[in-house]
Amino acid sequence: MDLSTFGAILSYAVELETKAAEFYGGNAQGKLEEVFTDLAGGSDKRVRRLELIRQEGISEMILEPITGFNSGDHSLDKVSEAGEPLKQAFMIETVMGEFYSEGSKKIPIREVVRVFQRMAEDNNKRKVQLEKLLE
């Protein structure tokens, strides 16, 4: 789907974070319990942040149509093909980081751009953390 409005981008971000939270919560077992519980909590917090941004960040002056940003390019549908949970988690963080990075170039509201950029950076930090566990 074309993410052609501010609200569509934010709503899709909520959808992605909700899926991520469900994955982490459902796989928080054994040696992954602590790190996945932490990540699930982080995704839940992001959902709340994104919903607040969707509500407070909107500016009627700049509701211009957004082009060239498609949800199909940033999907978590094929994550299960990555195999074991740690590898799936790595893929999740990769997809999310790319989504926020690309999204930050599309949104016309500076405050929201900064939030998206920080979230992309956080996704990258999580990837580094997960990579260490994979070694």
Partner: protein
């Protein structure tokens, strides 16, 4: 959704109207009846004004700080029900969900500004106006005010006025649009939860009979209105005849001037929202592109290309970029203007008449429509259409563009798209319109600024929002004192 009859909110209570007549409210995307609105009676108007008058003395004696705290509570409760308010607006009006969210946001911003009333209501003074004589000026509330809301921003517009009026110590009556009353009625559920003293805020549903009854009521101090110029002029006259303060924000025919030095990508994107946002049903909509010199050919092609890609549909779908127009009759009226444009000799580049929206066969949809070869004397260039129709006028230079704008009887908004500071400065200086955009397609003032307007776009002296609103809703009292 139940198809029941909306109630009035008078003196702190929800009351079923005694009205014999009701109006159907239909979802513009589906044509389904969603509720009914009562055409309230003159007696109910009298009841509301009496309740507001009775509440006034105690309310004006409440301190500004206490009144400001009601505004804080109102904001918190509106934020809690934000998405519900936005979705209600979409269902009754048809605009897309992002536009509805933007509308709720702007309404809340007015409450946030009005919460600053402890500072904004401060007066001024001077010692020794004459030797040993001091002079003070204080701002005092006046009494009962009302507003008549438009259909296009059914939730937001009353909040251009009510928060300031009430924060200043006045009491208030809202007559919401009879075409889009639901989100305002939902807002009054929130007012009820805020728990204002009974009579401070009141809601009376109805049509022009309610408006006339309000204006004729001896205890009403003033009226705020947003709507068309013909109705606005009538109400302004009637307000004066009845000794009421009035602020009348009326119609528009806004020009977007595009200079050859503009950044075209960003300009075209801004034009899309300006012309087709809210399906063109807004007083800040860009109705006419004034293309200066060489920019014309590429601009025309890019505008048509972008507009033809806009996704028209149900506003609740996040993919939708333009919703339906408000009613079947509005759709027919707008189609009449398209036919008129063709008849007048304008060239129809994009025809929105044949649009079909899958899944919504009965919705009041019209696609974006673009004319070129428009001249200022044409009906489609002179009259406010209030629909998704954009006309392109070609001019040779900047001066001719200014002439086109200033010859219009309207003066609501005008925008310039240019990278040249010199053009921007000249534009701001010369154009006779109240809301000016420089590389902005929708020049919507934020809440701490007045929502301006000139010529036939505004009647009165003080606008809605910001400090203008504080001045409108207060009187100045000068006290000269000496002590023996």
């Amino acid at each position: 959704m139940k198809t029941d009859v909306l109630k009035n909110y008078i003196d702190g209570e929800w009351e079923e109207s005694a009205a014999e007549e009701t109006l159907e409210i239909r979802n513009p995307a589906t044509d389904e009846i969603i509720t009914h609105v009562p055409m309230s009676t003159v007696e109910e108007v009298d009841q509301a004004v009496k309740a507001a008058k009775a509440a006034f003395q105690e309310w004006r004696e409440t301190t500004p700080y206490s009144r400001a705290r009601f505004m804080f509570r109102l904001k918190v409760l509106m934020e809690k029900r934000f998405e519900e308010l936005a979705r209600t607006i979409v269902v009754e009006h048809g605009k897309i969900i992002d536009e509805a969210r933007g509308e709720v946001r702007r309404g809340i911003e007015n409450i946030e500004v009005a919460a600053g009333v402890p500072s904004m209501m401060m007066g001024y003074n001077m010692e020794d106006a004459a030797a040993g004589i001091d002079e003070d000026c204080v701002l005092q509330p006046i009494g009962v005010f009302c507003c008549v809301g438009p259909f296009n921003f059914p939730n937001m517009v009353p909040l251009w006025f009510l928060p300031y009026a009430v924060a200043c110590g006045n009491t208030y009556i809202v007559k919401p649009s009879e075409r889009c009353p639901m989100s305002q009625n939902l807002l009054f559920e929130i007012f009820d939860e805020v728990d204002f003293p009974p009579g401070v805020v009141n809601l009376v549903n109805g049509d022009k009979r309610v408006v006339n009854a309000l204006l004729e009521h001896p205890d009403l101090a003033g009226l705020s209105f947003v709507g068309s110029t013909p109705v606005g002029k009538l109400l302004y006259k009637k307000s004066a005849e009845n000794g009421k303060r009035a602020q009348i924000q009326a119609g528009a025919k806004n020009c977007l001037v595009v200079m050859p030095d503009t950044v075209l990508d960003k300009t075209v994107a801004a034009i899309m929202t300006s012309a087709f946002g809210t399906a063109g049903q807004r007083c800040l909509a860009g109705a006419l592109i004034v293309a200066v010199g060489d920019i014309y050919e590429e601009l025309k092609d890019r505008i048509v290309e972008s507009a033809s890609k806009l996704r028209v549909g149900n506003g609740l779908d996040e993919k939708t970029q333009m919703g339906p127009v408000i009613s079947k009759s509005s759709r027919e009226r707008i189609i009449g203007y398209i036919e008129k444009g063709v008849e007048e000799g304008a060239t129809l580049l994009l025809d929105g008449r044949g649009i079909k929206v899958e899944g919504y066969p009965n919705g009041y949809f019209l696609g974006p429509t673009i004319f070129t070869d428009v001249t200022p004397d044409m009906v489609i260039a002179r009259e406010e259409i209030f629909g998704p129709i954009l006309g392109i006028i070609r001019v040779k230079d900047f001066d001719e563009a200014i002439e086109v704008i200033n010859n219009s009887p309207y003066g609501n908004a005008a925008s310039l798209f240019s990278t040249g500071g010199k053009w921007a400065r000249e534009f701001k200086y010369q154009v006779r319109a109240g809301n000016i955009g420089i590389n902005i397609g929708i020049a919507a003032p934020i809440a701490s600024f007045p929502f301006s307007g000139m010529k036939n776009s505004f009647f009165g002296d003080l606008h809605g929002q910001g400090r203008d609103a504080i001045e409108f809703f207060t009187d100045r009292k000068v006290i000269i004192s000496r002590w023996f």
